[in-house]
Symmetry: C2
Subunit: 331 residues, 2 copies
């Protein structure tokens, strides 16, 4: 029996707390401490916050600095932000302390082209301290990028990849329904899009990660977002939607290579969507189609893959790694 891997948790939102409950039930892991910037959580017990049947005797700290002055850990799980600007100083503080980091930050999943300077800062700091940093999640990080890369490894020649993730948002938690715009008017939807931080984050990161996994140099990666408009009234546990109001989002990420659209990622999450599924279609030799015919529940899967990535960061090469590093590309 090896010693347990001691883990810090930073960021105690929905995903962070899902990870707490997985870490508690898994053998081989121990939570060494937890922190969140929300001052209302300071000093509360992590187990209580996570709704576990018994407490964990882990008082929540209000900063990474406070956490680092306590019990030592072997790795940090960082679930605080979707954005490189916000997460970079946090990653650097952990790395400078000698800690490998697993994150669910969407932009950090493949930031090299979108945020070259912050990427370089994290990568050089991590290499200097001999630790790895990796960001993952079910999407980005798995369904639309890593998994198609894995499927491509049985392909002699890949010409183009199309991935669809279609979900009935009516079965998801309220925060998710709000995030995809359920119940907004068309005008409100436009406004939220213009404000940013809306809809599914990480489509560009998925395009870039998949391209890297296929060994493809892209000319460009781009993204569009449109509302899915309800044609009949819909009602969830949280939101009532009138016909003509927004039921959800329809987002498309595209990767262009040598002038051709070779990557097309479609994310559609709307209340009332009749079927939830995930599908990969790969043109080439052979033609391949792979699917989850009933879809993949996002929150559980993101929590699971994040915990399952802890052994990866402990063994992979130092630096800012991506899921594509697991199996170097073939072109």
């Amino acid at each position: 029996m090896v010693d347990s891997i001691r883990v810090y948790q930073i960021g105690l939102g929905d995903i962070g707390l899902a990870i707490t409950s997985i870490l508690v039930e898994r053998e081989g892991y121990a939570i060494a401490g937890a922190a969140d910037i929300n001052p209302a959580l300071k000093g509360k017990d992590l187990g209580e916050l996570a709704g576990l049947p018994s407490g964990l005797d882990i008082p929540i700290q209000d900063s990474i600095t406070a956490l680092l002055s306590g019990t030592e850990a072997d790795a940090a799980v960082l679930t605080t932000s979707s954005r490189m600007e916000d997460i970079t100083p946090q990653v650097l503080e952990l790395v400078d302390h000698g800690l490998p980091v697993v994150s669910t930050c969407e932009e950090l999943v493949y930031p090299k082209r979108t945020h070259p300077e912050l990427t370089e800062q994290i990568d050089s700091a991590a290499q200097k301290r001999g630790v790895a940093v990796l960001s993952t999640g079910v999407n980005p990080g798995f369904l639309m990028d890593f998994l198609p890369m894995i499927v491509s490894r049985i392909s002699r020649r890949v010409e183009a990849v199309r991935v669809e993730r279609v979900q009935d948002a009516g079965t998801r938690r309220e925060a998710f329904q709000r995030k995809v715009g359920a119940g907004l008017s068309a005008e409100q939807f436009e406004k939220r899009v213009a404000e940013g931080n809306f809809g599914h984050a990480g489509l560009i990161a998925s395009v870039e990660l998949l391209a890297a996994g296929l060994g493809w140099q892209l000319d460009s990666a781009s993204e569009t977002i449109e509302p899915v408009v309800a044609d009949q009234a819909q009602k969830t546990d949280y939101i009532a939607i009138e016909p003509g109001q927004v039921a959800g989002v329809y987002q498309v990420g595209k990767g262009i290579r040598e002038g051709h659209e070779v990557i097309t990622l479609t994310f559609r999450a709307a209340v009332g969507e009749p079927v939830s599924y995930d599908r990969i279609q790969m043109d080439g030799d052979p033609q391949l189609e792979s699917m989850f015919p009933k879809g993949v529940p996002g929150d559980t899967a993101t929590g699971a893959i994040t915990v399952n990535a802890i052994p990866l960061v402990l063994q992979c090469r130092p630096g800012l790694r991506t899921m594509a590093d697991l199996w170097p590309g073939s072109e």
Copy 2:
């Protein structure tokens, strides 16, 4: 532009020659030499044997020893045998020469429990020379073991895994149809089973590899084989099957853990099978189902994954590795 990876090819059967044609069309690879024990092939040009439009100017050698005295290489692709007894001396000769090895030997995909002594010989020789040895293929090596392991990484808790690979053997090459017993009588089928080296090889290796990938210690792994009997006449390009004759095989591999059947791998390949598909079902949290609704063509996929594994053996830790080493288990 990095230099091409120089590859030896040893074993020039159907899979070996499929690999030749992939290596020739891929950038970044160069075939440094080829060998096969069939004396009739000695001195022939590899490109001609592989049916390429133009020759390769690579005369086929009749032994590994002869190959090693020629042009140098960076890795060897070994597609000679399904059995550990046959392949071990070949692997050792290559490893002792300092060459990383990718193989498609079914038993070598996960030999630790079935062939502990030969495993130890290969592992210690490879570690001593600082090179890695890895065996893969579409099955075993991907569809029934590696891919379910990858899917399990989005699962919070896996309780049991069932994988089915169902194929219409009528669409495959003659050697495959013969191998699954198409056209035999029930008595001939029994006899061929008793003689061994019949049907799909590697089901036990898949059970063991998947268990390792899930971090499961099995009590036992076992395998059954039965004929699929034709209830109506079938005719392929190669074989005519009367009602009552064998159309193919139905093989089941099982893994038992703490008294429960937690792994069930079903391989069914028969002439006239109405639908070809590959399906993974995973009990736990969440329930997951993943499938290739139209199946995966075996020969192309095995050639592709073998070539795609070359970068893996060049970068992974020295020793006898398995596909499960790509992503260390979580239990």
